[in-house]
């Protein structure tokens, strides 16, 4: 499967830009996720790749095939792009059986009947639906429908698989299973995949690479760990999980690394990476903050006094709202704590600078 390259894509629907100079490349066999809130441009990007929308500017190419090139006035119709798409609604045609749905892309390509039959059998086995080949869509569960949509999308061995929020119609439990299953299938078949979602868990658990979008732009690009641990942009940090933000003066720590000092953390918080300028903002994940009851006689630099304002129990952890001086921080901890004074510490290296 070839690489797919998106270059300088821009689009607006009579108003503000929906896409603003979006560029990225998806490599062979890679699973790339476009993540962002609704209206961020992720679906528009996907529809431009699929050929259902035309960008105002930019170029999309897949290997040697140019899908769209506004400067060269190329715009390949959707039906000639050889892509597989799983839609949010699945869009399984209600008047066809499972097998007929899957066979459709093959029939359109005028494959011989025996070849179609063989391929349909193969693909249905792949998505574990062999037993349901003659059922109609309305006789299937949500999870089964989703797998039919996937089988249809990959039946004609497309160059790229596009997934438009394919899990949003499944309930939470099923969603988790479908996620693992789809990722395993994608890996086995080596499908180049572009996945659109607003769900951070889906993005983090499945992707090789995540592109976080907002306002028609790509704000951050990287592996799930990179994007989560070093969001770099405040929006990305907030959108992927919860985050505390602290603003203060930047100085040099005892070991020469950069630290951020605030009134509450006068000893300084050791921060990953570098930042120019006298002041800055850092992001700290709630689960990275250490918290314990009782005041430990600590050496300087070991922590700060704080008090628990509010606690809620979330099953696998407790969520505390903690006051440190004038600051309020969110903290996740496995330990139950009584309201009142606590000891709070931000370990070195968990905080990162954000813009």
């Amino acid at each position: 499967m070839p690489d797919i390259r998106i270059e300088h894509l821009s689009k607006s629907f009579s108003g503000p830009k929906v896409l603003d100079d979006v560029s990225f490349t998806v490599k062979d066999k890679e699973f790339v996720t476009l993540l962002g809130p609704s209206g961020c441009g992720k679906t528009t990007t996907l529809m431009c790749i699929a050929g259902f929308q035309t960008p105002d500017q930019g170029r999309i190419a897949c290997g040697d095939d140019t899908f769209v090139d506004r400067d060269a006035r190329v715009d390949l119709p959707a039906e000639r792009r050889n892509l597989g798409i799983v839609f949010q609604s699945y869009a399984i045609w209600p008047h066809m059986t499972v097998a007929q749905n899957v066979a459709f892309p093959l029939r359109v390509r005028r494959m011989s009947k025996p070849a179609i039959r063989a391929r349909v059998t193969e693909v249905l086995a792949l998505v574990e639906l062999s037993a349901l080949a003659d059922r109609y869509p309305h006789q299937l569960s949500g999870g089964q429908q989703q797998r039919v949509a996937l089988a249809r999308a990959i039946a004609s061995s497309p160059a790229v698989l596009l997934l438009d929020e394919p899990f949003s119609n499944l309930d939470a439990k099923l969603r988790e299973r479908a996620r693992d299953w789809l990722k395993a299938l994608q890996h086995t078949l080596g499908l180049t995949t572009i996945f659109v979602t607003h769900d951070q868990d889906e993005a983090l658990s499945m992707s090789d690479r995540i592109l976080v979008m907002n306002g028609g732009r790509i704000l951050r690009e990287g592996t799930p760990e990179e994007v989560y641990r070093q969001p770099r942009v405040r929006f990305v940090a907030e959108f992927l999980g919860q985050c505390n933000f602290l603003t203060g003066a930047i100085g040099t720590g005892p070991d020469g690394g950069e630290v951020l000092r605030t009134a509450e953390f006068s000893d300084g918080i050791k921060v990953q990476g570098r930042h120019d300028g006298p002041t800055g903002t850092i992001a700290v994940r709630p689960e990275d903050i250490e918290i314990s009851s009782g005041i430990r006689p600590g050496a300087p630099g070991m922590g700060t006094e704080a008090s628990v304002l509010h606690a809620s129990y979330l099953g696998d952890h407790y969520h505390y709202q903690v006051a440190v001086g004038a600051l309020q921080l969110s903290v996740h901890s496995q330990r139950p704590l009584a309201p009142g004074p606590v000891w709070l510490r931000i370990p070195p290296g968990v905080a990162t600078f954000v813009e």
């Binding site: 050929g51 959707a78 000639r80 609604s89 869009a91 045609w93 459709f104 892309p105 249809r152 004609s156």
Partner: protein, 581 residues
């Protein structure tokens, strides 16, 4: 068009490249359908206007541009009488229909009237009864020589009504148009929640106050909307004045045009075209006004979309049963008894109260229907038009609807109004337009003297009905179905043929049933086109009636009603099976 939609199914897998090249390019096929629809709909108006401005009929050599036809028209005192009659009839009918239809809709949709569910269905029955059948049925019972009229005047010696007066005709006009008002108002009621009425009730208002102070004001837009529609419909009505007006020599606009055309000393008088152009302008103006006042084509989606809702019906109290019985009596008097009268009239020598009907029983009318070549031909011709024309129209309109709403074809936006317009144009006008079109253009000669010409005129006139049924169903089909097919590699026609049309099957069948019923009963557009050998039911009934022969007309009307009943029954059964599958 048919051939394009049913393009040959895959020939056993030839080389992909070649078969792709042989395909009709989507845009060319779309352009063809687009052109066919626009030409058929808009085409007839140019020759109509042109012929009204010429000094000689356009098939004669010479002639100059002139307004003489309009001057002739305005100088004719009969024209002005017809205009006055039409306006009084239209005012009376509109008032009766709007008041009656609104009341019926409110009573059936918002109160605890016993049997309201059955009434909801029965009240729209006049829509599917062929209009001439209802008119002839009414004449057989309530006309001057009608059965009940005779009973009251001769046997009971009471002063009697006159159905052939303008108030009498307005009454029948209202009965025919009440379902339109009923459906419009009912759709508006179904579309608004009953919270506001509930709120008024919890504020202490009684049912009557709720209806007059809350329900009616909410319906204002729907009522204005159908008032204009009914008024416009009344201006073009032809059957009522021809059948009912004749005994009292009352002409309406459409019947004046028809009579001047068919009995005039000089053939094809230009002033009839002029009259048609004037009527076209007035009716189009009214409907434009209506479109501006309401939300254009939205009404088609609202109608029949959903019925009722979860609401607590208003309590009619002790009026419940009297109201229900009254409504039942209304349906009995306006529909059931006239239809029975039709059957009776088709089986007797003469309809009279002087002798018991079974003494006058005769099979002569039916024998005539079975043997007379003209009568027989009009049945087979009408069936041909309703069946073949209906099917072809549904296919053409389905293709045009897909192009209008599901394609990237450049000029697609013109299609939706083009598909709605023909039904807004008075049928007689479209008929005159087609008459001149067939004369003026060479290809027209191919259809001028045969059934094709009438088939085209009738189908174009009624294609709106197919659109009105198909479009809402198409709008409910998720656009991702199309996209999924495109990303599978399918082109536009393949998507239309394999995905959208199969999903639309129930709507296509419903559209066909509606087209069949309407084409079987419609006659306005062909009164100017009929030639010996190309008779259709409506026009034959009209002409036979005008010769004073009533028995066979009743028999033909019974045939018409019978066919409609069978098709409706079959259609709903197949539709039910399709929907279950």
């Amino acid at each position: 068009m048919t051939s394009m939609i049913e393009r040959p199914a895959e020939v056993a897998a030839p080389a992909p490249a070649r078969s792709r090249a042989r395909r009709l390019p989507a845009s060319a096929g779309q352009a063809l359908v687009w052109f066919a629809v626009v030409a058929l709909v808009v085409g007839p108006f140019f020759p109509l206007v042109y012929s009204s401005l010429r000094s000689k009929p356009i098939y004669l050599p010479g002639g100059t541009f002139t307004l003489a036809a309009y001057r002739t028209l305005f100088a004719d005192p009969l024209f002005w009488t017809a205009v006055r009659n039409t306006v009084s009839f239209a005012l009376g009918t509109t008032a009766l229909a709007v008041i009656g239809g609104t009341a019926l809709a409110i009573v059936c949709a918002r109160t605890n009237l016993p049997g309201r569910k059955a009434y909801r269905l029965l009240l729209i029955a006049p829509i599917v009864i062929p209009p001439l059948g209802l008119i002839v049925g009414w004449l057989s019972i309530y006309g001057q020589g009608g059965y009940l009229t005779q009973v009251v005047s001769k046997n009971v010696h009471l002063p009697v009504w006159n159905l052939s007066s303008i108030p009498g005709m307005s009454l029948l006009g209202a009965v025919i148009t009440i379902p339109v008002v009923y459906l419009t108002v009912q759709a508006a009621l179904a579309g608004t929640d009953s919270w506001m009425e509930d709120a008024a009730r919890s504020a202490g208002a009684g049912p009557w106050r709720v209806i007059t102070r809350v329900t009616l004001p909410m319906l204002r837009q729907a009522i204005v909307n159908c008032t204009l529609l009914i008024f416009a419909l009344c201006l073009e009505i032809l059957g009522i004045p021809l059948f009912l007006g004749a005994p009292s020599n009352i002409d309406f606009y459409a019947s004046y045009l028809y009579r001047s055309w068919s009995s005039g000393a000089n053939p094809d008088p230009a002033f009839v075209s002029a009259g048609a152009v004037l009527l076209l302008v007035v009716v189009s103006g009214l409907l434009l006004l209506r479109a501006r006042l309401s939300g254009s084509e939205q009404r088609f989606i609202a109608a029949g979309a959903r019925g009722g809702g979860t609401y607590r019906p208003l309590d009619l109290g002790r009026w419940r049963w009297p109201a229900s019985i009254g409504l039942g009596a209304y349906i009995g008097i306006t529909c059931v008894i006239p239809l029975l009268g039709l059957v009776l009239m088709s089986g007797v020598k003469a309809l009279t109260t002087l002798e018991a009907p079974w003494h006058l029983f005769t099979a002569e009318n039916w024998r005539l229907v079975a043997t007379d070549p003209t009568l027989r031909r009009s049945i087979t011709n009408s069936l041909l038009i309703a069946g073949g024309g209906g099917a072809a129209t549904v296919l053409l309109v389905a293709a045009a609807t897909l192009i209008a709403h599901r394609s990237g074809f450049g000029l697609r936006r013109i299609l939706a109004p083009a598909l709605i317009y023909p039904r807004a144009v008075p049928g007689v006008i479209l008929g005159i337009g087609f008459f001149w079109t067939y004369l003026m253009f060479t290809p027209g000669a191919l259809v001028r003297n045969n059934l094709w010409g009438e088939l085209i005129a009738l189908c174009v006139r009624n294609l709106t009905l197919a659109y009105v049924v198909i479009y809402p169903s198409l709008a409910r089909i998720n656009a991702e179905f199309d996209r999924a097919a495109r990303s599978s590699g399918a082109g536009w026609w393949t998507i239309a043929r394999r995905i959208l049309l199969p999903i639309l099957r129930p709507a296509l069948l419903a559209a066909f049933v509606l087209m069949f019923i309407t084409l079987l009963g419609d006659y306005d557009p062909v009164v100017f086109l009929q030639k010996p050998g190309t008779e259709v039911l409506g026009v034959t009934m009209l002409q036979t009636w005008q010769r004073g022969v009533v028995g066979p007309v009743a028999a033909l009307a019974v045939v018409q009603v019978g066919i409609v009943a069978i098709v409706l029954l079959l259609g709903t059964r197949i539709l039910g099976r399709l929907r279950r599958a």
